[in-house]
């Protein structure tokens, strides 16, 4: 059983994953809405998204809508599973369940 995920645990990435996982698997969120939702800068969010994308936790799709460039982000099945495990591990710590948490 996996535990705390160091990559997800960082506060901005944690909120990005929480936001994406709370949507339907089919949903893709606009980058700018995610930025406003988390109250972070474009550069900051972009850097965190790259890390999550490299880990295979999210998909980033750049496209054009009405001739304007837009970026849509969605959680992958791997990302959803890692996030679920991370939340389980947090709950285990909170409720005092003894478990190994790989670093």
């Amino acid at each position: 059983m996996s535990g705390i995920d160091k990559l997800i645990h960082q506060p901005v990435r944690l909120q990005v994953m929480a936001s994406l996982v709370s949507l339907d698997p089919d949903d893709q969120v606009d980058f700018t809405y995610l930025r406003d939702l988390l109250n972070v800068t474009d550069g900051n969010l972009g850097a965190h998204l790259v890390k999550l994308e490299e880990a295979g936790y999210i998909d980033v799709e750049k496209t054009f809508v009405v001739r304007k460039p837009r970026t849509f982000v969605s959680a992958t099945p791997k990302g959803r599973s890692a996030f679920r495990d991370h939340v389980e591990a947090l709950n285990a710590i909170l409720h005092g369940v003894d478990r190994q948490t790989p670093s």
Partner: protein, 215 residues
């Protein structure tokens, strides 16, 4: 990686807040701007109609008809552009639902037009004064048809819209039967104002600042 109970609690709280705000964003999904847009259309349309129906004459009645036609067509076009440009979330499921809702609106107003054509032979008006009174009744019917659409869309999407639909319908009925001389002003303030207020409320509800998000 060592995490204390306090850190775990804080992380879970951040997760809960982010998920909650995302749900609010989904419930909003650009709806705030659409409510505000249609609120302003109602304000402009009804205030313009009130002005045009004073000292009613046939050209002024025609003018009121044109005013609403222009406002509604402009409103539909702007709404479609806003939906395409500003939807925060896209998915094939939502896209299908959006198309279904759009078809429902078109069909409802097509049916409304058919009903008006069917009733037309029984409508007699003697002079522009009576025509103006009929116009007010028809605009009340059109407003309740639009609000009926809100209620139905609310049944599919968000119960919040049901209450808006029922509330504005009640205000329309109240205005028509109790405040008929000022019906259009009433509808501009009560109907248009409710739609604008709803849009602003939705906007403020989900745009509250997030808890500290350090990098």
């Amino acid at each position: 990686m060592d995490i204390s109970k306090e850190q775990a609690r804080e992380s879970l709280s951040q997760i809960e807040e982010a998920a909650e705000r995302t749900k609010k964003m989904m419930a909003c999904s650009g709806g705030d701007a659409i409510f505000i847009l249609w609120g302003f259309i109602w304000v402009l349309g009804y205030l313009g109609t009130h002005f045009l129906l004073q000292n009613a004459s046939w050209p002024r009645l025609m003018g009121a008809g044109w005013l609403w036609s222009v406002l509604v067509v402009a409103g539909v076009i702007i709404t479609l552009v806003m939906v395409r440009r500003h939807m925060p979330v896209r998915s094939s499921v939502r896209s299908r639902l959006g198309k279904r809702i759009s078809r429902f609106w078109w069909l409802l107003f097509a049916y409304f037009y058919v009903w008006m054509v069917m009733l037309h032979p029984f409508i007699e008006v003697n002079g522009p004064g009576e025509a103006a009174a009929l116009y007010i009744h028809l605009s009340a019917v059109a407003a309740t048809v639009a609000m009926f659409a809100y209620v139905v869309v609310g049944l599919w999407l968000d119960h919040f819209m049901i209450w808006i639909g029922l509330g504005v319908t009640a205000l329309t009925v109240l205005g028509l039967f109790l405040l008929q001389p000022y019906f259009c002003v009433w509808m501009a303030v009560a109907g248009g104002g409710t739609l604008i207020g709803t849009g602003l409320t939705i906007r403020n509800r989900w745009r509250q600042p997030c808890p500290a998000s350090t990098s």
